[in-house]
């Protein structure tokens, strides 16, 4: 099954989803399709002003362009997802996922889809890490 991960660029979630037999829907995957496109219009990640307009499907014009541009890429991933894992409190939401407002909106979009969803918290101790991985494993193994 296609599992949307949040943060969408997380190494940990990407690895675990694959490790337990599913296909992660990640930001890197989406970016890869864009940057390998021979017609690069807007380096580095080839998000064009037109993409930002497409983001209007998810958020109005009064929403900053950076949010609409992000939603233009993540939104379709959420639309495509058959299940999702959201990790809260991740201390590493840099890079592509640096905008907290976008993160909140994407979480909401996932919840609205009513697909199987696992919400976990970033671990702060060994015990929490064990809980996290076992929950993820059980969730993924339970997906048909």
């Amino acid at each position: 099954m296609k599992v949307f991960i949040m943060p969408p660029n997380s190494l940990i979630l990407y690895d675990l989803v694959e490790r337990y037999g599913h296909t992660p829907l990640s930001l890197m995957g989406a970016i890869s399709k864009r940057v390998m496109n021979p017609e690069i219009e807007s380096p580095p990640i080839n998000v064009t002003p037109n993409d930002v307009k497409k983001g209007l499907k998810y958020a109005g014009i009064e929403v900053p362009s950076g949010i609409r541009g992000r939603l233009a890429i993540w939104g379709p991933l959420v639309d495509e997802a058959e299940a999702s894992i959201i990790m809260e409190d991740a201390p590493f939401e840099f890079g592509c996922v640096g905008c907290h407002r976008t993160d909140e909106m994407v979480r909401f979009l996932v919840k609205k889809r009513k697909i199987p969803l696992l919400e976990v918290r970033y671990p702060t101790s060994e015990d929490e890490a064990k809980v996290l991985v076992s929950k993820i494993k059980a969730f993924l193994e339970g997906l048909k």
Partner: protein, 410 residues
């Protein structure tokens, strides 16, 4: 290669990163991202004292500190975030202050939309590069030899002839065809000075038409208006040393520049809304059926508070003024309200991006409208200095700086 450190959020996802880089490359600079370790980020945020929720803004803070601590080498700083993002706007401004307090690097801030193009950023980037690359030239305080300066603005073209730090000829007129207007202004200024074009030792040009004119007239100096106007303003106001703020409300765009010893260290440019420009006052004068040169004196006698204005817009705002006239307000009050409207908008849109330092020097054609100067004084808290020949700042700056190219002169 000049390294401009980019502290930003949202540029790639707004599709404007390539435009930023294009603008930098055009002026011989390159955008760089200061390296920071993940472990430094929390520490930097704690030291800064403002903890944004968005991680990218935390990274911006850590990167700024890497520059101010000298751990990362950059020549100038470009701080940018999405237009309308409140969280980023707070960080953008506070980081700008932090960088200015903790370094001597020139800084410019910019809030972009997906429509931002490299052209809009070019003058800003060019100014950053000029400040870094031409420090020695910008430190020049006296004009030497016989030089001319041309300022090709969107509304008017100005020319100035200077000899040994004295203005000997000047002329201004509305801009028509760019090169033709410049040549005519230059020739008229030369005639007033009583010298021939062939006698000129150097010509400097600034303003919108600078590249075209510079090429045609073989100008020694072709320079953006931010640094040129700063030099012109401090020369005219005799404020070459110390700090000052220069406000130039132009025909199409406005500039607010803070300077230290005549060299800009922070500036903003705006040009989105005609309601915040000299054009608004021209339209007002037309509706009041008075000449633009009379508007200032009328406004001086009026009371802006008597005219309710619901909009800064050059269409709806003017409509408010017309309605007030119909309701029996005097043209003096309406003129004052128009001036206050422009000043208020400059204050809200531009002076928020810099820290106003006294004295404020108001320049440009609109500084001749006394009512506008008074209105600007209302918003900045003290009456701005309007130096003689204040509409000629660009051409004075260009004449002064171009004399720096004369060999054998100091």
């Amino acid at each position: 290669m000049i390294k401009i450190a980019q502290l930003s959020c949202g540029t790639e996802y707004s599709g404007v990163q390539s435009e930023i880089e294009k603008a930098a490359t055009t002026v011989g600079a390159k955008m760089v991202f200061p390296d920071v370790e993940a472990s430094e980020i929390d520490k930097a945020v704690e030291e800064f004292g403002f903890t944004p929720t968005s991680a990218q803004l935390k990274l911006m803070i850590a990167r700024a500190m890497a520059i101010t601590d000298g751990r990362y080498d950059a020549d100038a700083v470009f701080i940018s975030s999405c237009f309308r993002c409140a969280e980023a706007a707070l960080i953008r401004n506070e980081l700008r202050r932090y960088v200015q307090e903790h370094s001597r690097l020139p800084v410019v801030t910019y809030s972009f939309t997906e429509r931002t193009k490299s052209g809009q950023l070019l003058t800003r980037m060019e100014a950053l590069v000029t400040i870094v690359e031409r420090k020695e030239l910008l430190a020049r305080e006296r004009q030497v030899g016989l030089t001319a300066g041309i300022d090709s603005g969107s509304s008017t073209t100005k020319a100035m002839i200077m000899r040994d730090n004295v203005i000997i000829g000047k002329f201004w007129h509305p801009t028509g065809e760019v090169v033709g207007s410049a040549e005519e202004a230059l020739d008229k200024a030369l005639a007033e000075a009583g010298v021939k074009r062939s006698e000129l030792e150097a010509i400097g040009v600034t303003g919108y038409g600078r590249y075209t004119i510079g090429k045609k007239l073989n100008c020694q100096l072709i320079q953006e208006e931010l640094t040129t106007n700063s030099k012109g303003a401090v020369w005219l106001a005799d404020r070459q040393k110390g700090e000052a703020t220069i406000i130039d409300i132009g025909g199409m765009d406005n500039k607010a520049i803070t300077v230290r010893d005549g060299i800009p260290d922070n500036f903003t440019m705006g040009g989105i809304c005609a309601g915040a420009s000299g054009r608004f006052l021209e339209l007002t004068a037309k509706r009041l059926k008075v000449d633009i040169t009379e508007l200032g004196a009328l406004a001086d006698r009026g009371d802006a508070r008597k005219v309710p204005m619901n909009s800064y817009c050059s269409i709806f705002g003017i409509q408010d003024l017309v309605t007030s006239l119909a309701a029996g307000q005097t043209i003096e009050d309406v003129a004052a309200a128009a001036c206050q409207s422009v000043a208020d908008q400059v204050y809200e849109q531009q002076l928020q991006e810099i820290d106003v330092r006294q004295p404020v020097i108001q320049v440009g054609g609109t500084s001749l409208i006394s009512g506008l100067v008074k209105a600007v004084g209302n918003v900045v808290g003290s009456k701005p200095i309007v130096p003689p020949n204040s509409q000629y700042i660009g051409s004075v700056g260009a004449a002064l700086l171009s004399s720096g190219f004369l060999e054998g002169h100091r």
